[in-house]
């Protein structure tokens, strides 16, 4: 029996492994994935990596330039902000906010989107009409304005940001899942399950879902970059996480007043946003190429 089981495991993994191999061959995408992983590590181990306490204000070091400029020193490698807080440490702690909110929003939105998309695509009828119209209506609102409105209504806070962004974000996976479900539900193995007496729940979750998961995962990673930008935008506008919590968007906003004389206050958190979002985008496109054969020529 053991021989058989080993065979089966090898076969089950072979497709995944082949896709992974294709992904690793794409050096740019693989490099970007490493950058993303580094950011995640940075977020997790922030207290051990950060050179200073990100909340410790010290007005003696107010607007201190980065280390390579005149007046810079190693104690504050990327300089300090208007309250004399270490910019590098705040960027490292800020990664926690960006990545946590990005992941949480995508998790909530994808779960809701999968359930709604499966119901709309498989059950059709009035369920589809209600869900699809709701999706159309939500798509009609500009994303950021919708989120700003919700934040203004609910008030700031970590949980509220996640809710405000997930409120609209779920329509993206929902549309993908609905489309894939419409195609998959017509396949004979779904009909076979119905002929055997399987319930709609079984068919949606056990027969259809495993077969449409790859495009959903790809879309989720692409969208995560958008959500990180949106969180930064909300924080920039003062509607996101509240000070003194370090958030990249809020840091960019803090530096606006001194942008001409102390450019580093705004620039470094901006670069952090750019790097993380770019890395996620490039890595997710590599994932898409490797895992979704329809996109490969």
């Amino acid at each position: 029996m053991s021989v058989i089981e080993t065979n089966a495991t090898v076969a089950a993994e072979s497709l995944f492994r082949r896709n992974m191999a294709a992904f690793m061959e794409n050096r740019l995408a693989f490099g970007s994935a490493i950058v993303v992983v580094l950011f995640v590590f940075m977020a997790i181990f922030a207290p051990w990596i950060a050179p200073n306490d990100p909340y410790n204000t010290n007005l003696f070091f107010r607007l201190q330039p980065p280390v390579w400029m005149d007046g810079g020193e190693w104690a504050y490698p990327l300089g300090a902000d208007a309250l004399g807080r270490c910019i590098l440490s705040r960027i490292i702690y800020g990664a926690r906010v960006s990545i946590f909110i990005g992941a949480a929003v995508i998790l909530v939105a994808t779960t809701v989107g999968i359930l709604a998309g499966l119901a709309a695509g498989y059950l059709r009828g009035w369920v589809d009409v209600v869900i699809s119209r709701l999706v159309d209506i939500l798509l009609g609102f500009p994303y950021l304005i919708f989120a700003i409105g919700l934040m203004a209504m609910m008030g700031p806070g970590l949980g509220n940001i996640i809710l405000a962004l997930a409120y609209k974000e779920w329509v993206i996976p929902c549309r993908v899942v609905r489309g894939e479900t419409l195609v998959t539900r017509e396949l004979e193995y779904v009909e076979a399950a119905r002929a055997l007496g399987a319930s709609s729940k079984h068919i949606m979750l056990r027969e259809i879902l495993p077969n449409i998961l790859s495009p959903v995962i790809v879309v989720a990673t692409i969208r995560m970059a958008h959500v990180i930008i949106l969180e930064a935008s909300l924080s920039f506008l003062g509607l996101g996480v509240q000070p003194p919590t370090a958030s990249w968007g809020a840091m960019v906003a803090d530096g606006r007043a001194f942008i001409l004389e102390s450019w580093w206050v705004s620039t470094f958190p901006g670069v952090a946003i750019l790097l993380l979002v770019l890395a996620i985008n490039v890595a997710s496109q590599g994932l898409r190429d490797a895992f979704d054969p329809r996109f490969t020529e």
Binding site: A11, Y189, A192, L196, G197, R206, P210
Partner: protein
Amino acid sequence: MTTDPLLKVTNLTKTYTGSPSMVARLLGRKPVHVRAVSDVSFSVGRGEILGLIGESGCGKSTLGRAILRLHEPSSGRVEFGDADVTALSPPEMKAMRRRMQIIFQDPYASLNPRRTVGDIVGLPLQLHGLENGREDMREKVAMMLDKVGLKAGQIDRYPHQFSGGQRQRIGIARALISNPEFIVCDEPVSALDVSIQAQIIQLLLELKREFQLTYLFISHDISVIGYLSDRVAVMYLGEIVEMGPVESVLATPRHPYTQSLMSAVPEVDGTGKGQRVRLKGDLPSPLDPPSGCKFHTRCPLAIDICRQRKPVTETVGKGHSAACHRLAERLSLLEGAAQ
């Protein structure tokens, strides 16, 4: 054999309604109706194989699926044993599904690529509570795999690791594991190589004997139907035009459509005795079926009445019936063509 009918289909009709887009509806266009199966009646005796033959698009697969309520029939009755299948509530229907099963045409599309053979074949046991835990299920699945000619050791493999013929065996195992009485075989060998076809047909015949099954065997291949059926029904544009014992229908076909089908079977004996009755044109669109006898647009014998009135089904031999206006007056089309 018809003394004990297991399945009785009465006036079964399946209409598909294509609803036009919102714009088209505003412009006053009406929804289109397609009668895929139109007023079909027949019965299948216990232990019998009824062959259902017809060209692509004639509604034979729809008929098979309507019987199993995979596509809900628009009207008519389906009786199975002493139950009215068309009137069953959802939980009753679920229980009924254990007794009537289907084997699909495409062995690649009919197995979920993400589930193992054990999961696929074991699913009916799970759904109908026929197993005592996972080990018991695997044991039963392994036994079933053995019955259909697969190795029990292949239970943890995925469908893509099997050949077409082996996959069809998996599909057969799945259909049979809940111990059903009746199986709709929807072109189960059409997608397979000829050499594999013979093996699968033999397997189906063996299993029929062992499990006392009844088959509705759908095919467009006359030789396959002729080989394994007890009775044959010939379908054209959603209607049964001729039905009877296999020897009688294939040896002395009475409907001109059946005759043209028979004459299209290639022969290898080289005597050239078979005269080809060629049909004009394609199958008419079921969106806009011909008036009167639906076959008149392509029938070499069509006369005025065929265009105006629908023919009634008449008995033309023992258990043999056909629906054609010109049954009484005409010679066999084949003999006529030979002169």
